[in-house]
């Protein structure tokens, strides 16, 4: 007596056809999330992205003992605009997103992924989704805790007026992670050693955001920081030439960048031949 494959619980999928995109991406996502959340890199990122929360606690404790020059909400503005959007989130994106494919190449495990009957784009999509969930899970709780620690220093009265800024900032944080993540994913599939060029991009090229004229429009950070409306006054060059770009333009530019970077990364990853060193 012979049993059909379905009766035995075996996979009835046509073995000659690739696994559907979303199913494959979901499987890669599950696999990548487990490796990404529990890693030494994430330990470092927890320290980097969670730092403002203990700092806010210290600020809250010591503001009553020291002559205060900065209000809690101003300090929160500094944390979001200068610490998160300008430095910590792009760094987190750099270290995670450039490694999405590079780690597989470095560890010579890319062969196992590419020999599966799944589309290459679904590998990239699953890994990018895992990156996004990991970084959002590390950053957003710290943003929320920092907000409440800093804005309730003098009590809960008047906090209602600052709540819209919290939601706007959470959106800006998410957009920052998506945009820089897309950019560094592109760098990760394009370059063999993407970290140094990535650092140069972040801390040299992005300084153009403080330049006069149309130069800030050639950076990513100028669009993202313009989405933060309560940032405190800049200093130095930024103070002299600071521009706040219109919100609609920022959203359009950021949306276009995300699409272009991700499409470019997907195209390169799909067509590139990976030859591993023996």
């Amino acid at each position: 007596m012979s049993a059909t494959p379905a009766a035995l619980g075996a996979d009835t999928r046509d073995q000659d056809r690739a696994v559907p995109f979303f199913r494959a991406a979901r499987a890669v996502f599950d696999l990548s999330l487990e490796g990404m959340v529990w890693s030494r890199r994430s330990l470092l990122m927890i320290l980097l992205l969670g730092l403002p929360a203990p700092l806010a606690l210290l600020f809250r404790i010591f503001i009553t003992r020291l002559p205060s020059r900065v209000s809690g909400f101003d300090f929160y503005g500094i944390v979001i605009a200068f610490y998160y959007v300008r430095n910590a989130l792009p760094l987190a994106a750099l270290f995670y997103a450039t490694a999405l494919i590079a780690d597989e190449v470095e560890g010579k495990t890319i062969t196992y992924l590419l020999t599966r009957p799944i589309q290459r784009v679904s590998v990239l999509a699953g890994k990018f989704a895992a990156y996004l969930v990991t970084t959002l899970a590390l950053a957003l709780p710290a943003v929320v805790l920092t907000f409440f620690l800093l804005t309730t220093i003098r009590g809960w009265s008047g906090i209602g007026s600052q709540v819209p800024d919290l939601f706007r900032d959470m959106g800006a944080v998410a957009l920052t992670l998506v945009t820089y993540g897309a950019f560094f994913t592109l760098m990760g599939v394009l370059l063999r050693r993407p970290v140094i060029p990535g650092l140069l991009f972040l801390f040299v090229w992005e300084l153009l955001a403080n330049a006069p004229g149309y130069l800030p429009r050639f950076t990513i950070t100028a669009y993202l920081r313009s989405l933060i409306h309560h940032r405190p006054p800049d200093e130095g060059m930024a103070e002299i030439f600071a521009q706040v770009l219109p919100t609609a333009l920022c959203l359009e530019a950021v949306g276009a960048m995300i699409v272009v970077f991700l499409a470019g990364a997907a195209w390169i990853f799909s067509t590139r031949e990976y030859v591993l060193d023996q």
């Binding site: 990404m36 008047g158 906090i159 209602g160 007026s161 709540v163 706040v244």
Partner: protein, 341 residues
């Protein structure tokens, strides 16, 4: 559930709880106003209002600026307040919450006195009404839609130089007779004429509720401002700097823990905004140049930043009280007593 999913779920719970608390605070905030920082009763202001200013008296009185400077300097202030309290039972520092000033004719010559003042607080209506009636001669009253309006110096034609009325137990309105009566009628009918002024409402929406002081106004408010300022050659020279006209102006400020001022002006277009921003930056640069003679000016200049966003110019100033102290004129040294000859 895997360990990674546990971490992600924990983070999602923290963010969701935070978002719910934030939404609850937004919904339950007692300071939540009807439009921007305005309370519902202020929506009875006339539809033709062109500018509105507000002062949060509680925050102002509690600020270091008030406790440090105003209270220390004005030696006769307590006496004036004591007299007011004796006559009306009203202690402004204790009983007033908000003061709003609104007007419609700021830029029209000879019509600058149409400002309407709305005071929100806790009043002993009997004592205040008695004080209004007895303090000055020539105070009459009339019933407008069930509300008593007190008229000052009413002539035979029924016109008065000023008027005041209680909109409710907590709201006193003062100003010209026409504007006070208009406000009283609108309040009695349950109307909100200010809602039919979309331009001003849009400006009010942009004001952060909770500011210690704020002001919004359209070009009418700014029409008395100079159109040009003397150039580097000084007054009398042919060089002068043209100031671009502003379509609207929004000012918000706080006084604790430092003096924070945010000014947003809407220019006609982007080049005009950049031009205006350059003018302001020029003044800041001049102050910086003066820093050799007055080091405190350097601190002041670094406390001000100017940015542009399309046709808007945004000036933000964060001035610590130490800088304000350093800008105060130093007291002359006490002369030594003349020595006995």
């Amino acid at each position: 559930m895997t360990r990674s999913r546990l971490v992600v779920t924990g983070a999602a719970v923290v963010v969701s709880v935070g978002a719910m608390v934030a939404l609850g605070a937004l919904y339950l905030d007692p300071a939540r106003a009807a439009v921007g920082p305005l309370p519902p009763q202020a929506l009875s202001l006339p539809a033709g209002t062109r500018y509105v200013m507000g002062l949060d008296v509680k925050r102002f009185v509690a600020s270091p600026l008030y406790t440090k400077y105003a209270a220390a300097r004005a030696a006769n202030r307590p006496q004036a307040f004591e007299e007011l309290e004796r006559k009306t039972g009203l202690n402004p520092e204790r009983d007033l919450d908000q003061v709003y000033v609104a007007g419609s004719q700021a830029g029209v010559p000879g019509r600058s006195g149409d400002a309407l003042v709305v005071v929100v607080g806790r009043f002993d209506r009997t004592n205040v009404a008695h004080a209004i009636e007895t303090e000055k001669k020539g105070v009459t009253s009339k019933n407008v839609q069930g509300t008593i309006v007190y008229l000052f110096s009413e002539d035979r034609t029924g016109r008065a130089s000023g008027a005041t009325a209680f909109l409710d137990d907590n709201t006193l309105v003062m100003g010209t007779q026409a504007s006070v009566e208009q406000t009283v009628i609108a309040r009695a009918k349950g109307e909100a004429p200010l809602r039919s002024n979309p331009a001003l409402l849009a400006l009010l929406e942009g004001v952060r509720p909770g500011s210690t002081f704020w002001m919004v106004g359209d070009q009418t408010l700014l029409s008395n401002m100079p159109k040009a300022i003397p150039g580097p050659g000084g007054p009398g020279t042919s060089q002068s700097i043209e100031l671009p006209a502003l379509k609207s102006l929004t000012v918000t400020g706080d006084l604790d823990p430092q003096v924070s001022l945010d000014i947003t002006g809407e220019a006609a277009d982007e080049p005009a905004a950049k031009n205006l921003a350059d003018v302001v930056r020029g003044f800041v640069a001049l102050a910086t140049l003066q820093a050799n003679q007055k080091p405190e000016l350097k601190q002041l200049a670094s406390a001000i930043s100017v940015t542009t966003e399309a046709s808007r110019v945004h000036v933000a100033a964060r001035v610590p009280y130490e800088v304000i102290d350093s800008l105060q004129p130093k007291r002359a040294a006490t002369a030594p007593p003349p020595s006995a000859q």
